[in-house]
């Protein structure tokens, strides 16, 4: 086969291979590592791993929470208040764990979120029941002691009636949540029996209060002179409800304590007409039924109920770069009627994982600066409505690209120092080693490097000694080692071969240079007359 034929075959083969490769270039077979996901599956080797988290703890925690309602209601019913306090503390702790889990797993919009809300209300209801039952016990004892003292007896009866009404209302609300809570529990195969029993126990406690009223003739007990009403009887977040009434026989200026859900909300005074009023702002309070009552000295009002309705919210998120690593997250949290939600917790979810907390100010605005690693990040702001009569909301996802910190100068300083050190080292080594390997090139380099010719003084020296001084001067100027003989020098620096050969004859053949020769050699040695060499 001749050369031409070989070339044609090779060229044809090359073209064929290129054509085939071009046809397959778009195919992912050779680059499949980049194509790691299809509709049917993902490549587990390229999917980022994550901590399993506590997702597995959700259902057991739900079980524990329902179990705790049963235990707590039973101990309240049995009037074992010491155990009830312990049970309540445990229940509160479990509820907190569950709240955190719901937020972390981002499931507040599911039935687990509904379960969480119901549980929160149950916890509050049982805590109130514990306090009321304990107080009711005291009243029962007191009622026996003050029989015969009509004034004190009536005060006890009024308070007992208020407590009884509270318990009755509390039970109604507690029982109302039963169906939904049990349904959710059964969906997750959680044992709802203790919770059902807690509803029964709650009913028994409320019934006991009714029975007591019957015993003391409560059915015919006179109406309390301290009246109370809530107007309007329902409201949403940000609304103002007026809790007020009149105290027949009350002294103007006398203090009246207004309680909302068994907690003192405000102390107001009776006006000239015996009336009192407290504007109650709907703020951080759970949606649902609430109770209000008032006391003036030992006189208790009846119990008024009002309803807090849930409302929707909207949250915004804007991202702004602060510096290479820090991003400022700002936004507003408002209700659907554009009221700012103040002092409310806001969570920033980074890349669907890390949660960073912040809080709105009095204008419903929040701002949080967060440090992020370099790269693209997706952030969302979330409001989970914890404790507010407001539904959860989240902002649209926003993306930010973090540049990262500028390059540290240290590696560059180190590299510069290393380069300088290497240069210095090479410069030191060059005269010793280079002439042996690259004599010609080295001489040129050396001649470029040496800038100032050494000064030389030969006046008064014998001609041969003067020649030796000039030889050493030229050798030094050319950067040649002192160990080099004139012959070595002539070989290494052929441009000055004439000089070195003449010196060799002076040095070894015993010839004596003339004055003229010495002047010529001096010029060469000092670099003044290169051609003379």
């Amino acid at each position: 086969m001749n050369r031409r034929a070989s070339h044609i075959i090779l060229a044809a083969a090359a073209v064929l291979v290129l054509v085939l490769l071009a046809g397959e270039a778009a195919s992912p077979v050779l680059y499949s590592a980049e194509n790691t996901s299809t509709a049917a599956h993902a490549d587990p080797a390229t999917v980022q791993k994550r901590s399993p988290g506590n997702a597995a703890a959700v259902v057991p925690l739900m079980d524990d929470l329902l179990g705790q309602t049963g235990t707590l209601a039973l101990t309240i019913k049995l009037k074992d208040y010491e155990s009830a306090e312990r049970d309540l503390a445990r229940y509160t702790d479990l509820s907190r764990q569950f709240d955190r889990l719901v937020v972390t797993l981002d499931v507040s919009g599911t039935d687990i979120g509904e379960f969480q809300q119901n549980n929160r209300q149950n916890q509050e209801a049982l805590a109130t029941l514990l306090n009321d039952t304990r107080r009711f016990d005291d009243l029962q004892r007191l009622e026996v002691e003050v029989r015969g003292d009509d004034d004190r007896h009536m005060a006890v009866v009024y308070e007992g009636e208020a407590l009884r009404q509270k318990m009755r209302e509390g039970f109604s609300a507690y029982a109302k949540r039963e169906t939904e809570t049990v349904q959710i529990a059964e969906h997750y195969d959680v044992n709802a029996t203790p919770y059902r029993e807690s509803v029964e126990d709650y009913a028994e406690v409320a019934d006991a209060a009714d029975d007591w009223r019957e015993e003391i003739g409560g059915g015919s007990a006179p109406r309390s002179p301290l009246g109370i009403a809530v107007t309007p009887d329902e409201g949403r977040y940000g609304d103002l409800l007026l809790i007020g009434g009149t105290y027949a026989g009350g002294t103007p200026g006398a203090p009246v304590e207004v309680y909302v859900d068994s907690r003192i909300a405000e102390t107001v005074t009776l006006d000239e007409s015996g009336g009192y009023a407290y504007p109650y702002s709907v703020d951080r309070v759970l949606a649902g039924s609430h109770l209000a009552y008032a006391t003036a000295g030992q006189v208790y009002s009846t119990v008024a109920t009002f309803e807090i309705l849930p409302g929707n919210t909207a949250i915004t998120l804007a991202l702004a770069e602060v510096n290479g690593t820090t991003v400022a997250c700002t936004g507003n949290l408002t209700t659907e009627d554009d009221r700012p939600v103040t002092l409310a917790p806001v969570l920033l979810r980074v890349d669907d994982g890390t949660l960073i907390g912040t809080e709105t100010d009095n204008n419903g605005t929040y701002r949080k600066e967060i440090v992020l690693p370099a790269g693209e990040h997706t952030l969302k702001a979330e409001f989970h409505g914890a404790g507010y009569p407001l539904n959860a909301s989240e902002s649209p996802a926003e993306t930010v690209t973090v540049r990262g910190e500028g390059l540290s100068p240290l590696p560059f300083i180190a590299a510069g120092a290393a380069a300088l050190g290497a240069g210095w080292y090479l410069r030191r080594r060059r005269p010793e080693e280079s002439p042996l390997t690259e004599p010609h090139g080295m001489v040129d380099v050396v001649e470029e490097v040496v800038e100032t010719p050494p000064r030389v003084e030969i006046a008064g020296l014998p001609p041969r000694d003067a020649a030796t001084v000039l030889f050493r001067t030229l050798r030094a100027r050319l950067g040649l080692a002192e160990t080099k003989t004139p012959r070595d020098c002539a070989r290494i620096a052929p441009a000055h071969a004439g000089f070195f050969e003449r010196y060799e004859r002076i040095r070894y053949a015993g010839e004596t240079p003339s004055e003229e020769e010495l002047r010529a050699m001096e010029k060469v040695a000092l670099g003044g007359d290169e051609t003379a060499a």
Binding site: V17, S37, H41, Q48, G109, D352
Partner: protein, 274 residues
Amino acid sequence: MPSGVTRLQREAWAILLILLLAGAAVFAHVTTTPEEYSRYNTGWNGTSGFAGEEVRDLKPGVTLLILAPDQPFTPEEVGYCRAFLDNGGDIIIADEEGAANPLLADLGSRIRVRPGNLSSLERDHTDPGLFRVQVTGNASLFAGIETIRVNRPAAVEGGEPLLETSVLTWDDADGDGRITASETFGTAVVCAKEGNLTVLGDPSLFINAMLAENPEFIDNLQPVRIDGVHSRTGTANPIINTRLWIQETPLAAAALAALAVLPVAYRFGRKRDE
């Protein structure tokens, strides 16, 4: 000039070497395919690494795997399958798109594949479709195994459940990777059996990237034969088909070998003459 000839020869050898390497790359390309589940796909989503002989004719007494079917079964083939099951053969249908449902109906099975986007909160990967399911039924297929890692499976309805997800699983219909108000948590069955028929809602268990995730399950399957007619494992391309035809046809293989030897013989013959 001798030096010039030597340089030319050196260049020719270099080009030849490059061509050989490029040819090897081209061969790797044209004899493989990026098709999902294909046995000729050596990538992560192929089944080249799954040990199972491909069969085109049914013989009783083996386990037949119908993997991600995409071809309909004729009434005659359904009859073969039914007879195969009646004679004690085991059939495993791995499907997540519901393509196997007509076959299941024709076989008289109550099991159905419900395509969806099952996702779980209980997972150790960021992809919500990559999670572990619990072995709940008694089957030799899952003997000695507690959990199986699945990869974007579909739910299976009917039959005796063999694999079940945790209750914190949902069908991520909107595909946003998180559970929203319109989606609900609930347990789903991803594998069920009915007699000798097993339906698995995740054919991804057999792709190359998943083989190492469930080694015991893959071992338990053996020996298994794969239906090469209806399964997507059989997806190839004309070049692969040609290669297979050459491999299966001795005469064609001999002719190809002769074609390769001829130029060498010609070259040596000429040299001797010179």
